[in-house]
């Protein structure tokens, strides 16, 4: 077998890619496959299927696969006028493959509306909603490429609200679960249009990868049989096989270096022993996620770039969008056993595109039927009492009886919706708090736009309407609240044609630095309706094409 290539830091490779997740993994494969010499710097470890377990304590409580709140603490405030307080504000996958390893694998395309909503609905007070510089049609071939190359299970044409697609899914949907059947029947009673959820999980085996074995440990866990279509299980292996791509784990990049001409010359990182190295490169592509990418740009100040790299607009880190969505739990008479199988088997998009004139707010969303709570999680965490009804005693005979009765009989309905881009919602450098390496910590500033909260109330009412149409014995919903915790890190280095109002152009090139490119959740101009990972990977496939074309023309 071919040994993966190792470069010296002094080798000036064609591209350094920072981050190996949904975007970085794809770019690594595409660029190395196109003949370029690539080094991927990943801050987390290089784990494989053999390292993944069902150990809830290690994974959920000890952050085995994610950013660690002690090593990389964060702060939070609602508005820029507030003093930020130490608070765990975000979670992301910190390993080769990034969040694509531990995500739930919901894999929705954005719809046409997501790219042109501003033109359709006009300006929104207190938000800076703008159109993308590209349309759904521009991205469609790359959605298809991502679905086929990474492996997505789904049923084309099952939803009347689906945007046009050039090809069906490469494999059939995963089996429906009891929760999905309950959801489907109730939704149809109401005249809605439920359909099999597209999931980045294999329903059929592929070379080197098993089909899903329905073990039920998807969300927050790494897949032990390679069925989840993470970039780790797919494109990263292809990248290494080209013989031109080195995946270098445990490299915490803290600065992008520039020269007197204002060009990027490489990335400086701490290795495992906290020794600094500089990997030289002709160009740098940052795919570190919507939190760490702006942080890295803001850390890379110099005489030429006093406010941070690529930040002449002053907008690096701004327009953070998290996606929003309430949820509700229900208990049924008979066992669903929804702990088996992938988290979600049925969704609906009837409320994806709403008329602001009718509903009184801008935005939309989708609903899913899911059960993603592993046992300890079900018994201890989340709102009120994890998966148990409010008011359940937290210990003793009744607690045990509730666990015994409800674990197999519970279902959650979750809404996923838009977040509007608000300039003051941001990631910035905390002025006081430092991480374990002595670098300024991330500060999250976030206050949901009033329309996002109205959308939340609207979707909450739809969830309860749906549960009314079931035989649920008991149901309860979470309140619609302002958010202070982020799973989806979107919009913080947005794409646009105007250097004054955006960070990167439609080629993902920063307006300010010719050989610096950004591609991750931060690139998104709007939040979509809640499931951004496919769009992030599709953008990465497209970015790779654009960057390759520029490089071949000698324009980088």
């Amino acid at each position: 077998m071919l040994e993966p290539i190792r470069y010296k830091t002094t080798d000036e490779v064609d591209f350094v890619i920072i981050g190996s997740g949904a975007a970085g993994g794809v770019l690594a494969k595409e660029l190395s496959n196109n003949g370029f010499r690539v080094v991927v710097l990943e801050q987390g470890p290089y784990l494989t299927e053999a390292d993944f377990t069902h150990n809830e304590v290690e994974v959920l409580m000890r952050n085995q696969l994610t950013n660690h709140p002690k090593l990389q603490p964060t702060t939070f405030r609602k508005t820029p006028q507030d003093k930020a307080k130490h608070h765990r504000a975000l979670v992301y996958g910190r390993m080769v493959g990034g969040s694509s390893v531990h995500f739930t694998a919901n894999y929705w395309r954005f719809h046409e509306i997501d790219f042109v909503e501003r033109s359709k609905v006009g300006p929104i007070p207190d938000a800076n909603l703008v159109d993308w510089p590209i349309t759904y049609a521009d991205l469609e071939p790359y959605y298809t490429k991502a679905e086929w190359e990474l492996g997505v299970s789904g049923l084309a044409g099952a939803s009347p609200f689906d945007p046009p697609r050039s090809k069906p899914y490469p494999m059939p949907p995963l089996p429906v679960k009891s929760g999905g059947v309950i959801f489907e029947r109730a939704a149809r009673k109401l005249g809605w249009h439920p359909f099999p959820s597209p999931m980045a999980i294999l329903s059929e085996p592929r070379p080197g990868r098993s089909a899903c074995v329905q073990c039920g440990f998807c969300e927050s866990f790494g897949c032990e049989v390679g069925a989840k279509s993470s970039t780790l299980a797919t494109v990263i292996r292809m990248a290494e096989k080209t013989g031109r791509c080195e995946i270098r784990p445990n490299c915490y990049v803290h600065r992008i270096e520039t020269n007197a001409n204002g060009r990027v010359i490489g990335a400086a990182y701490f290795d495992e022993k906290r020794v600094t190295h500089l990997q030289k490169a002709k160009a740098v592509v940052v795919c570190a996620n919507g939190g760490e990418t702006p942080r890295l740009l803001l850390l890379s100040t110099s005489k030429q770039f006093p406010d941070g790299l690529a930040n002449s607009s002053g907008l690096v880190g701004k327009y953070l969008m998290l996606n929003s969505g309430p949820s509700a739990m229900a208990v049924f008479e008979h066992p669903l056993n929804d702990y088996k199988g992938v988290a979600v088997s049925r969704i609906l998009h009837d409320f994806y595109e709403l008329d602001p004139q009718k509903v009184g707010f801008c935005g939309g969303g989708g609903l899913d039927a899911r059960f993603d709570m592993t046992p300890i999680n079900f018994a201890t965490s989340g709102y009120d009492m994890g998966g148990l009804p409010p008011g359940t005693p937290k210990w003793g005979k009744e607690f045990k009886a509730a666990l015994a009765h409800n674990y197999t009989r519970s279902l959650e309905i979750v809404a996923h919706g838009t977040s509007l881009p608000v300039e003051s919602n941001s990631f910035s450098l905390d002025p006081d708090l430092k991480d374990a390496w002595g670098l300024p910590a991330l500060c999250m500033t976030y206050k949901d736009h009033p329309d996002d909260l109205k959308l939340g109330a609207f979707l909450r009412a739809r969830i309860l309407e749906l549960l009314e149409a079931t035989d649920a014995v008991q149901k309860w919903a979470s309140p619609v609240e302002e958010q202070d915790f982020a799973y989806h890190l979107l919009g913080t280095c947005r794409m646009g044609n105007d250097p004054k109002s955006s960070i990167i152009n439609a080629d993902h090139r920063t307006h300010d630095v010719k050989n610096l490119f950004l591609c991750d959740g931060g690139s998104l101009v709007t939040s979509g309706r809640g499931q951004p990972t496919l769009t992030i990977s599709a953008l990465a496939y497209r970015a790779a094409d654009r960057i390759t074309a520029l490089a071949r023309k000698g324009e980088i």
């Binding site: 494989t48 409580m61 085996p205 300890i376 989340g382 210990w395 045990k400 674990y407």
Partner: protein, 220 residues
């Protein structure tokens, strides 16, 4: 169910339906995982305690038994939760050592205060034990919510810490040093397998297969 049997069945069934390519590519990794799991399971019931004295272990065992009591089904005691906590305090929960070191004397003081003739928590009747624990329990205030997921153990009071550790030790995957013999999963109805097949539950048993709403309307 015996741990190694279920693991082995997972391995063989997992590989059976798959391509030879998959099996050969993954066999070393799967063997490594199985070995790892077996070691962990063997360590689930150590002969002696590493952190607690036998007397302390007795007290903790009794507390966990009130948090998840043994009734007509097994509780924390049968799940060996005290062993899980003991091992945890020298591994993943080292930072909670102080909470236990300070909490146990506090517990004893509270027992002496409420039941002057008794010196140990474990010498009380179950009802008396519940009274003592209720006096410690500040869990009326719900823990801080962080998204829809994840608890943040370790910061709370002694009782809250023991409570969370007990739930973990009762419900963790039995491969990882608690939930002895999978009794916690038996109680909540979770089958101890690494792979499942549809139909999964009551409501999908009679599902006729996907039909689009349009087709259904045409039939009518």
């Amino acid at each position: 169910m015996n741990e190694s049997v279920s693991r082995r069945r997972f391995l063989s069934r997992g590989a059976a339906g798959l391509s030879a390519v998959w099996a050969s590519a993954h066999w070393p990794a799967l063997l490594a995982a199985a070995t790892h799991a077996r070691h962990a399971a063997q360590a689930a019931t150590p002969a002696k305690f590493e952190f607690f004295t036998p007397e302390e272990a007795r007290e903790i065992d009794d507390i966990t038994s009130r948090i998840i009591p043994s009734d007509d089904t097994p509780g924390a005691h049968e799940a060996g939760v005290v062993y899980f906590i003991d091992r945890g305090l020298t591994t993943f929960a080292v930072t909670d050592q102080k909470t236990y070191r300070q909490g146990l004397p506090e517990l004893q003081a509270r027992v002496a205060e409420m039941f002057p003739r008794v010196s140990k928590f474990s010498a009380l009747t179950p009802d008396q034990q519940d009274q003592v624990l209720h006096s410690f329990d500040d869990s009326g205030q719900q823990g801080q919510r962080q998204g829809r997921l994840r608890s943040r153990p370790g910061a709370g009071s002694f009782f809250e810490t023991v409570r969370q550790h007990t739930v973990m030790g009762f419900l963790i995957d039995p491969d990882f040093g608690g939930n002895h013999d999978g009794v916690g999963w038996k109680v909540i109805g979770r089958e101890r397998e690494h792979m499942f097949q549809a139909p999964f539950g009551y409501y999908d048993k009679s599902y006729p297969g996907w039909e689009s709403a349009v087709k259904e309307a045409e039939k009518k």
